[in-house]
Subunit: 203 residues, 2 copies
């Protein structure tokens, strides 16, 4: 708890904060397509990417979304995407992946197919934003060579935003990113309270 | 890098993971309205909440959003919300707050007005989800008594999800939450590259 300030002290302090903020904003002049990584074991990696997709759609920007793992994006967001058919291309490619298939060569083929979609979108400057949801999982399992991802990042149009989610982001990928956020679990009702996945929260 | 496994080893390992996953899911039987806090100095707190709002809208759930700080939610999401006028009530209340006003008593009055909206939504079971965006900032400045927030949480309908964002979440609030995620800055282009706020990312 901070010591209460008088109204005059508050006003002086806020004027200083305002000036510092104005200086900071004035120094920021660069516009560029960002490479954004959401990683960590906490929740919110896909949700936060989805929030950015929604912002982009609201601005009339064209967005491509490729989902590498089944269920990471689901019914809730799908219904919203369906209201923007002219702006969003949504490719849920992950039906073959995860422990449910138990078939590595099929998983690798599905990862390849999904990655080809991402590459196509990244190579097309009409996409203002591309989201590769749960790509880190595929990299973690060595289903896709990291070098290919780094090459696509290096070659992408300057103004395209590229968002990659999933736990265990490779260090080299984070090194190539402009913005890396780690979502850290502080408290989770799944583990502690046996709460199941619920509409609006997980899907 | 993990040691490559044979296909049979992979299959056996994935079958074990699948069985463990099935046991975990079976143990989760509780459904309840969650109190969710997104905090930390990293990005993605509001974006991840926005992602949950979008999921909820996609499921046809009624959502209330109150914005305590100007600009935390902006043009992008507003344009998307406008496509769901029957489902979302969006209250951007924060015009009076932050360093730009330099008037504490006005800021306190605005915080009070915004909180009254949140309380009204939380008391109405027709709202499946309520988001108090940047409420933690207001608590941090002591513009609103934390006890009132805790009382509203204790009194809310059992199935209502209540999401609170903002850095510096009070410990007592986190103690009262079901799910707390901390967004940690690993790398940020604003600070390191003078990149300005861009459509689709920050607003």
């Amino acid at each position: 708890m901070k010591t209460p300030r008088t109204d005059d002290e508050h006003k002086a302090k806020m004027a200083k904060v305002q000036a510092a903020q104005a200086r900071k904003v004035a120094a920021k002049t660069v516009e560029k397509g960002l490479v954004i990584v959401h990683t960590g074991t906490g929740k919110g990696k896909t949700s936060a990417a989805l929030g950015m997709v929604v912002r982009a759609l609201g601005h009339g920007m064209k967005v491509g979304v490729v989902q590498f793992v089944k269920g990471a994006m689901a019914t809730g967001e799908k219904a919203v995407f369906d209201r923007f058919p002219d702006l969003i291309e949504f490719k849920p490619m992950g039906e073959g992946f995860t422990w449910d298939t138990q078939d590595r060569s099929r998983d690798i083929a599905v990862a390849r197919e999904a990655w080809d979609e991402v590459k196509r979108m990244l190579a097309d400057p009409s996409y203002a934003m591309v989201l590769a949801d749960e790509l880190n999982i595929v990299l973690r399992y060595d289903y896709l060579p990291l070098d290919e991802v780094l090459a696509a990042i290096a070659a992408k149009p300057a103004m395209t935003h590229f968002i990659i989610t999933g736990r265990n982001a490779p260090q080299t990928l984070m090194d190539a990113a402009d913005l890396v956020t780690e979502m850290t679990l502080v408290k989770h009702p799944f583990r502690e309270q046996n709460v199941k996945a619920q509409a609006g929260i997980e899907f």
